[in-house]
């Protein structure tokens, strides 16, 4: 009796979720792959014949430079997030439980606040007549205002500011698990602080680091509005290039190819993440 009743419920749920994912994730992505091998058409956006021109265009030295630059900005962002976030998560995990909860809460608050508004708030600080310059000049530290807005540096500051919680949260969760047991054990066995850090802490937090890197590096290449607002509307990120192809220049195949490049980057990172987890699993078993 309950077999029969159980099946329709299960089937309905699975059909619903698979249907949704197939229709709104898989199909659209296949469409993008399709678009990337078609030819630009001024009238209908896309036309035949099929070819690999847009991929060739991606590796055109000029666009390649944009991608490398975008990758560089994203990498710098990630490194800053890691440099700030790693000691942060470590320090956080050493506090009392109640304080941890409160501080994590405070970390999430900005993440729940509109990201455009936060980017805009940075502009108030970084502008030539902005608060930082006013403060520095008021203190007599500088005579001329520093030109900070509309530079690559400003964009990196914006990206770090928006993405830092995404680095801290996964790191915090690994530190939280690991702190008490393993570190103590290693200490008991007579390992020095540095050696503990190098041989125990780093490898064990690696999955957290990789998760954080993934959560920061990929969005950092795509957040076009940060480059628009803080970078002076220059094409600093792959996201800007993709957006321009679709909403300005109408070169869909090229925009699609550029977005596939991002997807490939994601796949590589996901793979690295999995491998690191698997290795850790094996080590734990031996």
């Amino acid at each position: 009796m309950h077999r029969v009743l159980q099946q329709p419920f299960k089937t309905a749920v699975l059909v619903l979720v698979w249907g949704w994912l197939l229709l709104l994730v898989l199909t659209p992505n296949l469409l993008v792959v399709g678009a990337s091998v078609m030819t630009r058409d001024p009238g209908t956006f896309l036309s035949l014949p099929l070819n690999l021109d847009s991929y060739r265009q991606l590796f055109d030295p000029l666009y390649l430079d944009v991608f490398l630059n975008s990758l560089y900005m994203a990498a710098v962002t990630t490194i800053f997030c890691l440099l700030i976030g790693y000691p942060f998560a470590w320090a956080l995990s050493g506090l009392g439980k109640q304080r941890q909860t409160l501080l994590i809460f405070l970390m999430i608050v900005p993440f729940w606040t509109n990201s455009l508004v936060r980017t805009y708030a940075l502009k108030l600080l970084l502008a030539t007549n902005g608060l930082i310059n006013n403060a520095l000049m008021g203190m007599g530290l500088i005579d001329e205002p520093l030109k900070m807005l509309y530079t690559e540096g400003a964009v990196i500051v914006g990206l770090v500011y928006l993405l830092l919680p995404f680095m801290i949260l996964p790191l915090y969760s690994v530190f939280d698990d690991l702190r008490q047991e393993l570190l103590m054990a290693s200490h008991d066995l007579g390992a020095g602080k540095l050696s503990t850090f190098l041989h125990v802490t780093i490898p064990l937090t690696l999955p957290g680091v990789l998760a954080g890197v993934m959560l920061v590096l990929l969005p950092a290449m795509g957040l076009f509005f940060v480059a628009d607002i803080l970078g002076g509307s220059r094409n600093l990120l792959v996201g800007n290039v993709i957006k321009n192809q679709f909403l300005d220049a109408r070169d869909w195949p090229f925009g699609a190819a550029a977005s596939i490049l991002l997807t490939v980057a994601m796949a590589v990172l996901l793979l690295a993440h999995r491998l690191s987890q698997r290795r850790l699993g094996e080590e734990a078993q031996t």
Binding site: L16, V17, T27, W112, N114, G222, F225, T263, M266
Partner: protein
């Protein structure tokens, strides 16, 4: 010294994190038009915000959209989490994997792929296209929230219910739902906030028939320093703070 160092460091990072927000809130009460200088306390910008027709309309539109997107994604997400937790089925790993990939994909990739789909099937860009897109990116977050709750939950309860003759549907309704209710609410609130905050996906899949807040803000911010943005930002901050405290309260109370 070494005891204090971490604390000083933590404080420093929090100061940096909150400084821009603090500046925003303070300047939303600034009477001066030029944005950088202090011109006395004033509610001028809040007033001009609420007198702005298009802005108020966009606010309502955004709230409706977030409400609908959060609700739909919570329903689908919760059912999915239940299925993943309870059943064995073919392609289970693939389903998990796919949800994970959706969560990790850069928003812009999702955005253009959905745009391509909507254009192909001739769907008018507006409320429906926004809803479909927002549910899609909220879904994995809801699934994860609910799964986390389910994994810490006593397996013997549903077994007992079944032994007492309850079928799956009844069991779900009477035993599971009450247990995962806090996670549902937390997931719903997360979906609501994600939807309200989204710029990247909405830029691509919205049409003039349904203008939403983030895009209004985007066009204002691009024009330059507008004190109204400070006021709006403060209101949004207050709003998300309330939502977040609500969700934390729900989660901790249930423990």
């Amino acid at each position: 010294m070494s005891r204090w160092l971490p604390k000083i460091y933590l404080t420093l990072v929090y100061v940096l994190l909150y400084l821009p927000i603090l500046v925003l809130v303070v300047f939303s009460f600034n009477g001066s038009r030029t944005g950088y200088r202090w011109g006395g306390l004033s509610l001028e910008w809040y007033e001009s915000l609420f007198n702005n027709h298009a802005m108020v309309q966009a606010m309502w539109n955004s709230l409706w959209l977030a409400l609908a997107a959060a609700t739909v994604s919570t329903i689908i997400g919760a059912l999915t989490a239940l299925a993943l937790h309870r059943y064995r089925f073919r392609g289970k790993r693939m389903l998990r994997g796919m949800l994970f990939v959706v969560m990790m994909s850069p928003e812009i990739v999702l955005a253009i792929s959905l745009l391509a789909l909507f254009l192909l099937v001739g769907l008018q860009l507006g409320f429906v296209s926004l809803l479909l897109a927002h549910v899609t990116f909220c879904l994995p977050f809801v699934v994860i929230t609910v799964m986390a709750r389910l994994s810490g939950f006593d397996e013997s309860l549903p077994e007992a219910a079944r032994d007492l003759g309850a079928n799956d549907f009844t069991m779900t309704r009477t035993v599971l739902i009450p247990v995962i209710m806090p996670a549902l609410l937390a997931g719903w609130l997360l979906g609501f906030t994600l939807s309200l905050d989204d710029v990247v996906v909405s830029t691509f899949v919205s049409g003039p028939s349904y203008e939403i807040l983030p895009l209004r803000i985007y066009s204002m911010v691009r024009v330059g320093l507008k004190p109204e943005v400070n006021a709006l930002g403060t209101l949004l901050l207050l709003f998300s703070l309330t939502m977040l405290m609500l969700s934390q309260w729900i989660l901790t109370r249930s423990k």
